[in-house]
Amino acid sequence: MKEETMDAEKRLADWLGDSGESTRVAGDSLLMELDTLYAGSPAEAAVERALAKLRAELGEENPVLYYGELAASPVGPISVALSEAGLVAVEFGEAGPEFLEHLQRSHQGQAVRSPERAGPVLRQLAEYFAGQRDTFNVSVDLSRSTDFQQQVLRAASRVPRGGLATYAEIARQIGNPRASRAVGQALARNPVPIVIPCHRVVAADGSLTGYSGRGGIRTKAQLLVLEGVSSYTAALS
C-alpha cells in the first residue's frame, strides 16, 4: 500500500515536470483527462482578436509618455518626454518628481521612465552642449500646439546654430508679416526648447526680450554664447 502511494506521488511529480523524468500518464485517466481539458490552446484568431482589442484600448485611453533626463548640462539638469509620435517636452532645471508633476499636469497618460526611448535625444543634447552637434535628428510631436504655433516653431527650427532671426522675420516667413507679437507668444510656448531653437529668435534691435525656459533671458544668452554668438557674453556677467 505504501509503495502504491509512493508510486502515485512519483507519477504526479513526473507529470508536473518536478522530477526531471519523462511523463508516464498512460493508464492514468485523471491526468489524461486533465490534459484533454487544459493542454489545448485557444484558436489563434481568438488570441489575436483579444490582443488587438487590448492594445487598442490601452493605446487610445492611455497614451504612454516615455521620459528620461540628463543629470547635468550647462543649463542644469534637462528632462525630456516622448510620445509614440515623437518628442513632446524638454524642460530645464527640472528632474525626477518635479518634471513628472509638470508632465502629468500638461499631458494625459502614463509616464514611464525609458532610457531606451529617451536615450537618442539625450545623447544628442549632450553632444549639442559639447559643441559636437549643430542640428537634432529627432521626430518632434507638436500635436498639442495650434496650427499657427506649429508654423512658427517649424520656421524657428530652420534658424541654424550660430545664427539669429527676429520675430518679424519669422512672421514674414510664415506669410503673416504683422504677427511678430503672436510669433513671440508662440515661441514662448515652445514645448521642446533647444531642439527647436527658439532662443535664436530675438527682437528687431537684437535684445533678448524673453525666454520661456528656466533661467529666462540669462539661459537664452547662455545658449547663444555656447553657439558662438559672442555678442551676448555681456548678458551673462
Binding site: W15, L30, L34, T36, A39, P42, L54, R55, Y66, P115
Partner: protein
C-alpha cells in the same frame, strides 16, 4: 547606480498578453470571457503600475491580477447562470474530442466540475504549474505564498481530484 528601470507597460502587454489570454481561456473555458477578463486584468494592472516599485516579478504580478479577475468572472457567471459549468466553446479542442464519445464527454465534464470545485488557490496553482509552466517560486509570488506552499497546493489539488472522482466513478 540608478534604480533598475521598469519595463514599459506596453512591453508587458507584448511579453505577457498572449500567455495571460491562454491562462484565462483555460480557467474560464470560454473565448469571450477570456477576452473580457484580459482587458479588465490589464486595465487594473495599468492603474496599479505607477505604484509598483523596486524588484517586481511582473509575470507573477500579472498572473495574480488575471487570477483575481477570473475568480470574479466565475462568481459573476455563477450568479448570472446559477451554474458554474459553462459549455465549452464549440470550436474548442475539448469539445471536438469529446463529441466523438459521449461517455468521455461526461467524464470530462465531471473532471472540469471537480476542478472548479477545488479551492480557488489549488485550482489556479495546478493550471499555473502544469499548463502555464510557472515555477513554484513564481506561483508563490502570484498567490502570495511560499514556493513550498504553492507546491503543496498543486499536489493537494491532484489528490483531491483523484479521491473525489474515484468516489464518483464508484457510485
Amino acid at each position: 547606480m540608478a534604480a533598475p528601470t521598469r519595463p514599459e507597460f506596453t512591453e508587458l502587454v507584448a511579453r505577457f498578453g498572449r500567455e495571460l489570454y491562454v491562462f484565462l481561456w483555460r480557467m474560464l473555458s470560454n473565448e469571450q470571457d477570456a477576452e473580457d477578463c484580459l482587458q479588465e486584468a490589464f486595465l487594473r494592472a495599468y492603474r496599479a503600475y505607477p505604484r509598483m516599485q523596486g524588484e517586481v516579478n511582473f509575470r507573477a504580478w500579472l498572473y495574480r491580477i488575471a487570477g483575481n479577475t477570473a475568480r470574479t468572472q466565475l462568481k459573476r457567471r455563477l450568479r448570472r447562470d446559477g451554474r458554474e459549468i459553462d459549455l465549452p466553446d464549440e470550436d474548442g479542442t475539448a469539445s471536438q474530442q469529446a463529441d466523438a464519445d459521449l461517455e468521455l464527454r461526461e467524464r470530462l465534464t465531471a473532471v472540469r466540475t471537480a476542478v472548479r470545485g477545488l479551492p480557488f488557490k489549488q485550482q489556479q496553482s495546478l493550471i499555473l504549474r502544469k499548463y502555464q509552466g510557472l515555477s513554484y517560486a513564481e506561483i508563490g509570488a502570484a498567490l502570495d505564498c511560499s514556493p513550498e506552499s504553492a507546491r503543496a497546493n498543486v499536489y493537494q489539488a491532484l489528490r483531491r481530484l483523484r479521491s473525489e472522482l474515484a468516489v464518483e466513478r464508484q457510485e
